[in-house]
């Protein structure tokens, strides 16, 4: 009886131990830090290659989107620090200069942030868009083209 209890206890300890190790390892490897360009610059070499989320604004007149190669270049800024971002894939549909974005990717030795995902930062509050932001305004030309369709 006692022997069996000992074995059951040992089994329990082994299972719990394995789960704890798995979780600890999983968290250590997969936590993604959210930083601003200033914070990122301060960390510098410490975070080369680590998965990160970088939040800031798209610097006006810095956007270069090449539809052919599918490469998007722009500069992200928090008002203090500017960082070049290189992203693969089309910009999100409402992506525009001056807007808040969160980019997912990693910081490289060459000082460029390589991103695989650009997210337009939006609150969950659905506020009415401002003048000029209205999708119908932006895509007006398209509707006119398709009038009578």
């Amino acid at each position: 009886m006692n022997r069996r209890k000992m074995w059951i206890g040992l089994g329990l300890v082994a299972i719990v131990g394995a789960v704890v190790l798995l979780v600890a390892g999983g968290l250590r490897e997969n936590v993604v830090y959210f930083l601003t360009p200033t914070e990122l610059e301060a960390k510098g070499a410490e975070v080369y290659g680590a998965p990160l989320r970088l939040g800031g604004q798209v610097k006006p007149e810095s956007v270069d989107w090449n539809a052919e190669s599918g490469r998007l270049l722009f500069v992200i800024t928090d008002g203090e620090t500017e960082l070049p971002v290189e992203s693969s894939g089309a910009p999100p549909a409402m992506f525009s200069e001056g807007m808040g974005v969160v980019v997912e990717g990693s910081y490289r030795e060459d000082g460029v942030f390589r991103s695989h995902n650009v997210m337009v930062k939006h609150s969950n509050e659905y506020r009415p868009p401002e003048e000029g932001e209205h999708p119908k305004e932006i895509y007006r030309s398209l509707v006119d083209d398709e009038a009578g369709r």
Binding site: V19, G26, N30, V31, V32, M94, V120, P129, E133, D145
Partner: protein
């Protein structure tokens, strides 16, 4: 007018819940049939009141009565009627109203089902339901009142959150999920009722289990429906992102599933009494916690409605329920001793216990990953996120162990297995599993997780098939019925067990779908000029044109593409982007061309807004995704078989006599050989 009516109805529901609680608890303690009757009638009353509230709200929504606050926030004259009707659950207050209505419905159903019972359990259970009712109706009367009056009456409203009015599945996924979530409060009420009444024999557990299976089935379908919705709407080609609120619905599912297995150990061996109570209560607490996550706005998520006041109230209620429940368990601890012990290391109960450990470990890991960012931010004011890689890494191995156990547990005998019996039971399934691995390996698959998944899937199917084969041959020995009828008999005579196997089969189908779609998804993002083609995994996609269309509630931009699979024309594909006036970002409607083997999934990413000459499209080839939905459906059917009420011959003496005369037997005897040992019912604890 409607505003006053609705508010009055909600107040009436609250009063009903207060009466139900007081009458139920006092009636239970005093053992007073009149008070129990009052509790039951109050359940009907609250349901009638909530029904009225829902009707008023729907009338206000569909009639565009913007003087009602909720309508002024989620309604608009342009929204199509279908989405207007279902916008009942598209924002905080309405969703709590919907929740309250379902809760009232469950309480009334409970009162109907147990109207003839004279035991002390029923009033206590109703009393416990009443406590939950007071909380939710109280929210509706206080901080989450959807019936507030807006003066002056606005002309129009913004319409529901664009994401929630973009796909018809919004009419299906939330109600299923709510039926599941709220349904979990019924087993909880049974647990509290049993603790209060002090009669902790197995009787309450059978009822609690039945309600649990029903709620579990709704929750499962709700989760799968949510995955489907996400696949059809969010445009990234996936169905599960370990989003905090997806996790919130998954956590109670995990503990409820654990309970559905461990409850059998208690029924057969009288063990795990405290454990089972804790699982039921923990499941309910996790539903509250999930609602708290969704409704308090503390997390960033597609589901998070941003409203803050309700958070602290929820936390308070969660604390109250947790402390109260576990105080009750401590109070009754003298009646929770187990008469049975673990006899053999290899037995069905030990497999169930291992299964439970892993379910709880899974709950813990998912919970930790979900709240870790909150904890880190609170302690170190660093902002972090825990992404899908963590969950995949931790979840997959544990889930695979569960998959394996699914093939082991049902075939093991209770108490103790001899090596000889193990060999006889498992050689066929094991051979099947090994053969599956060998075939898949020869087909060129070298990845470890998919191979293991396929191997275990083959093994589990082998076990299930063996169980059915044994069951059919046992029935044929007894009743000499032809095999197909004997097969159907298994479901009608022991639906609980064989329905459970059907659920297992559905889960295996889903596991295979997950392994395939997770491992062999192909994705390309290309900008195409008009007439240009893109090739991916045997599919060809040609871009034709970009078009735009005004609709009352939105503006739609679509791309027309032609698609071929090899030489076979699949027809026109029209991925769209929908621009809602209230949303900064367009909401995608991907074009999904589905088949059993593969889905072609096209999302319009960007387009030439000037002349419509080029479009950027993301093309994803997703294998075996359809199996997830099919597996989910099988799970639902299995659960239905398991709870389908059958006339039990043993309860009808005249029928039993007739059956006995035919040489049939009233009670289901041995189905598999291991069932021949008479069920050992728990006998510990004082009998009242």
């Amino acid at each position: 007018m409607l505003s006053t009516l609705g508010y009055a109805a909600v107040i009436a529901a609250l009063l009903g819940a207060v009466v139900m609680t007081v009458a139920g608890l006092v009636g239970g303690f005093r053992n007073h049939p009149l008070l129990s009757d009052v509790a039951r009638r109050s359940a009907y009353f609250s349901f009638a009141a909530m029904m009225a509230a829902i009707i008023v709200m729907e009338a206000a929504l569909l009639g565009h009565d913007f003087s009602v606050e909720y309508v002024s926030r989620v309604g608009s004259r342009e929204t199509p009627a279908y989405y207007t009707a279902i916008s009942l659950w598209s924002s905080l207050d309405g969703s709590i109203l919907f929740w309250g209505w379902i809760l009232a419905g469950y309480a009334a159903l409970l009162a109907v089902v147990r109207r003839r019972s004279t035991d002390r359990l029923t009033p206590f259970v109703l009393g416990a339901m009443g406590i939950v009712g007071i909380f939710f109706y109280g929210l509706l009367v206080g901080p989450a009142n959807p019936f507030g009056l807006v003066v002056p009456t606005p002309e129009n409203g913004p319409g529901p959150n664009p994401l929630l009015q973009n796909h018809p599945l919004m009419g299906l996924h939330p109600p299923l999920l709510y039926l599941g979530f709220v349904g979990l409060s019924v087993p909880f009420a049974f647990a509290i009722g049993a603790l209060l009444s002090g009669n902790l024999e197995a009787g309450w557990l059978r009822d609690a289990r039945r309600w649990m299976v029903a709620a579990w089935a709704f929750l499962s379908l709700g989760i799968v429906g949510g995955a489907w919705w996400s696949y059809e709407v969010l445009g990234w080609g996936g169905y599960w992102a370990w989003d905090p609120v997806e996790n919130a619905s998954f956590l109670p599912w995990l503990t409820a599933t654990a309970f559905l297995h461990s409850v059998m150990v208690q029924e057969r061996r009288g063990m795990l009494k405290t454990w089972n109570l804790s699982l039921i209560i923990g499941t309910f607490i996790l539903t509250l916690f999930g609602t708290f996550l969704t409704r308090s706005g503390i997390l960033d998520s597609v589901h998070a409605f941003t409203e803050g006041v309700i958070g602290p109230i929820f936390l308070g209620f969660i604390a109250f329920i947790t402390l109260g429940s576990f105080a009750l368990i401590a109070w009754r601890s003298d009646r929770l001793h187990a008469p049975g012990t673990l006899d053999g290391a290899v037995s069905r109960e030990s497999a169930f216990i291992l299964n439970n450990l892993i379910f709880v470990a899974l709950t813990f890991t998912v919970l930790l990953g979900t709240v870790f960012p909150l904890v880190v931010e609170a302690l170190r004011s660093e902002r972090i996120s825990v992404g899908p890689p963590y969950f995949d890494m931790v979840f997959t191995p544990l889930a695979l162990i569960l998959l394996f156990l699914m093939g082991v547990g049902p075939a093991l005998p209770w108490r103790r297995a001899t090596p000889d019996k193990l060999k006889r039971t498992f050689w066929v399934p094991l051979a099947l599993g090994a053969a599956t691995v060998a075939i898949i390996f020869l087909l060129g698959v070298r990845r470890v997780y998919p191979l293991v998944t396929f191997g275990f899937a083959g093994f589990v199917f082998g076990t299930i098939a063996e169980e059915f084969r044994k069951g059919v041959s046992a029935r044929r020995r007894i009743s000499a019925r032809p095999a197909p009828l004997a097969f159907m008999d298994l479901f009608t005579r022991n639906g609980r067990r064989y329905g459970g196997y059907v659920v297992h089969a559905g889960i295996v189908v889903m596991a295979v779908g997950l392994a395939i779609s997770g491992s062999w998804k192909l994705e390309r993002e290309v900008t195409l000029q008009q007439g240009e083609k893109l090739e991916i995994a045997g599919y060809t996609v040609q871009f034709e044109e970009i078009w735009g269309r005004e609709e009352p509630q939105r503006f739609v931009v679509g791309g027309t593409f032609q698609a071929w699979k090899g030489d076979r024309h699949l027809g026109e594909q029209q991925p769209r982007l929908n621009y809602y006036p209230t949303s900064q970002q367009p909401i995608a409607t991907p074009a999904v061309e589905s088949s059993l083997a593969k889905d072609l999934y096209l999302t319009l990413m960007a387009f030439d807004g000037e002349n419509g000459e080029h479009a950027t499209v993301r093309a994803i080839v997703n294998p075996a995704v359809a199996w997830l939905w099919i597996g989910g459906l099988i799970v639902g059917i299995g659960a239905l078989i398991a709870i389908w009420p059958h006339r039990r011959p043993s309860y009808r003496p005249e029928l039993a006599a007739e059956l006995a005369g035919r040489g049939d037997v009233a009670e289901e005897p041995a189905v598999g050989e291991e069932e021949s040992e008479p069920a050992r019912v728990a006998t510990g604890g004082p009998v009242e």
